[in-house]
């Protein structure tokens, strides 16, 4: 039995939730899929690091440098443990977008180097005409545009798994989409627009069966449910710190050791090298090979504090809490005439990002009314424009909850939607 979340107690840990917005209304924050708020434990951890042991990591022969390095590597171990990985398989980046680009560039760089006679490049990273890359029709732009670029640079073909009317992947023709030509299968675990939780281990198994590398965008899953990277069956998993109570400016990439070992570097320069000569260099072993330049130490410390916070709650409890809120939000929205949910209509295999449209009202206007009620939501295409097109909507309004929300937040939002309908006479 998991212990239910004590939302009132949790809310006291989040300084920002004490403030008011727009004419002294209490803040109702329903935009955690964009970025989560931060508890004081995370804010303090970051600031304590700067107060007590800030120094450049992995260099310098002084005590501060040692302590800073410990803080950084300790954070790596803690964050890796959170997803049941090993620290040496976890790379720090700027955000999930950079993590995914790091992987995408491994392919275009691999192809370019192989073309110029570098036969040390692992053939899995040599991609070209006749090869295919598979994504889904519900990707965030961060897991779509980099692959479009790889195709443009290498001549590979982009394919995608379609989405059905209920916002689920259409897996009927999977064997014609993922086939012998496929070198990459990169899919979102939980859609930030539709809320759909995809059967990623099944998709990763298909990737493995054809010898393709499997990549999971876990931005919306790791903050919200227990995730074991080994169980996903992926070769590489990307996510961001700022959506899981951590600071901005840090992302993660976990990789299977053997894959990271084979992967060409992305950003190059200091800290990622083994030896450097005027005309060539050799590179450090992962994860350092992928961490050029001075890393984001304070942010790593902040994410480690976020992991402590989430671990204390228990990710099972977090998931259960959000499941209740998701069911409640779907039900309340369904009760409003003129509201149409874009994405799975029921709460099965579904996360807490709930997108909807209101007949006769543009999402921007809905969002404005909610803002007037103190409710923060996201409106627009949520960086998943092709997904909006799939549903023939220019944009949606999206509610997304987290550990500090309860059903009363959803009630305020629904009242705001009704007020907007009334005001615009729709």
């Amino acid at each position: 039995m998991t212990k239910p979340l004590d939302v009132a107690r949790i809310r006291r840990d989040f300084p920002i939730l004490q403030r008011t917005v727009r004419d002294d209304r209490p803040l109702v924050y329903l935009d955690s899929a964009a970025t989560s708020q931060k508890p004081f434990q995370v804010i303090d951890a970051e600031s304590d690091y700067y107060r007590s042991c800030n120094a450049a990591v992995h260099r310098g022969a002084h005590q501060l440098a040692e302590e800073a390095t410990d803080a950084y590597e300790g954070a790596r171990a803690k964050i890796a443990g959170f997803v049941h990985g090993r620290p040496e398989d976890l790379v720090f980046t700027k955000n999930a977008t950079e993590s995914l680009n790091l992987v995408a560039y491994a392919f275009s760089n691999g192809a370019a180097k192989a073309q110029h006679g570098d036969d040390a490049i692992d053939p899995r990273f040599v991609i070209g005409p006749g090869d295919s890359i598979v994504v889904t029709q519900m990707e965030h732009h961060a897991n779509l545009v980099p692959w479009q670029e790889v195709c443009a640079k290498t001549g590979a073909t982009l394919r995608w798994i379609g989405v059905d009317d209920d916002g689920r992947l259409d897996l009927r023709d999977l064997s014609t989409i993922i086939d012998e030509s496929t070198k990459v299968v990169s899919v979102v675990h939980q859609s930030n627009l539709l809320g759909t939780i995809n059967p990623v281990s099944e998709l990763m198994a298909h990737a493995r069966a054809v010898g393709a590398l499997g990549i999971v965008d876990a931005c919306q899953s790791i903050p919200h449910m227990p995730v074991d990277v080994n169980e996903l069956g992926a070769d590489l998993v990307a996510w961001s710190g700022h959506k899981m109570l951590g600071p901005t400016g840090i992302g993660m990439l976990w990789g299977r050791p053997e894959v990271l070992e084979a992967m060409p570097p992305f950003i190059t320069g200091g800290s990622m090298i083994e030896t450097v000569f005027m005309d060539h260099s050799t590179y450090a072993a992962p994860p350092k090979r992928f961490e050029a330049g001075t890393p984001m130490v304070a942010q790593a410390v902040g994410v480690a504090a976020a992991v402590d916070y989430l671990d204390a709650l228990g990710m099972d409890a977090v998931e259960a809490h959000e499941h209740v809120l998701t069911g409640y939000a779907l039900e309340q929205l369904r009760n409003v005439p003129g509201v149409r949910i874009i994405g799975p209509q029921d709460d099965h295999a579904r996360g807490s990002a709930v997108s909807f449209v209101v007949d006769g009202l543009h999402p921007h206007d809905v969002g404005q009314f909610l803002d007037d009620h103190g409710v923060a939501v996201r409106v627009g295409h949520h960086c998943a424009w092709p997904t909006c097109r799939r549903f023939d909507v220019p944009a949606t309004t999206r509610l997304s909850t987290y550990i500090y929300n309860d059903t009363s937040d959803i009630d305020v939002a629904v009242d705001g939607i009704r007020a907007a309908q009334k005001f615009f006479g729709v």
């Binding site: 543009h362 999402p363 921007h364 404005q368 009314f369 007037d372 220019p394 005001f423």
Partner: protein
């Protein structure tokens, strides 16, 4: 500051009953503008007649602010001589960038004054400016007036 100050009656009226929302028969210039953060879209077409008067048509979809702004724009500048239309556009752009500090001149802006509240909502300024940017761009493409390229950006 509340939403009622943003959504003035005039804006709602133009949103619900758009004026000038049609393609132009013999367009000399056309511009498609999109607001990539929210997907508002507008295509403005322009032509100039023998007497030097501007003619405008548009198509679009999006939020009330962007679509009402397009309607107000089309209604106002339709049939104006080019330099007057440019002056109206200047005044509207200035109003949007004023953070609410400029008292709009109804003589110049007509129904455009209703957008004064929009200037206080940074996220909506882009919506209101979208059709005016399209107008400017369409004029430039058609070689109709405007020596102030790029200003509405």
């Amino acid at each position: 500051m509340n939403v009622e100050s943003l959504y003035q009656e005039i804006i709602l009226d133009h949103y619900k009953n758009p004026r000038g929302k049609h393609p132009l028969a013999e367009a000399e210039g056309e511009s498609y503008q999109v607001n990539p953060t929210c997907g508002d879209e507008v295509t403005v077409q322009v032509a100039r007649d023998r007497d030097g008067h501007l003619h405008v048509g548009y198509e679009g979809q999006g939020c009330s602010i962007s679509q009402a702004s397009a309607s107000v724009m089309a209604e106002m500048v339709e049939g104006m001589d080019v330099s007057t239309a440019d002056a109206v556009r200047h005044a509207f752009v200035e109003l949007m960038h004023s953070k609410g500090a400029v008292e709009p001149d109804e003589e110049v802006l007509g129904d455009g004054v209703a957008f004064v509240g929009v200037a206080k909502y940074p996220a909506r300024i882009k919506c209101a400016l979208l059709p005016w940017m399209a107008l400017q761009d369409a004029q430039v493409k058609a070689g109709i007036g405007t020596e102030d390229q790029g200003e509405a950006r």
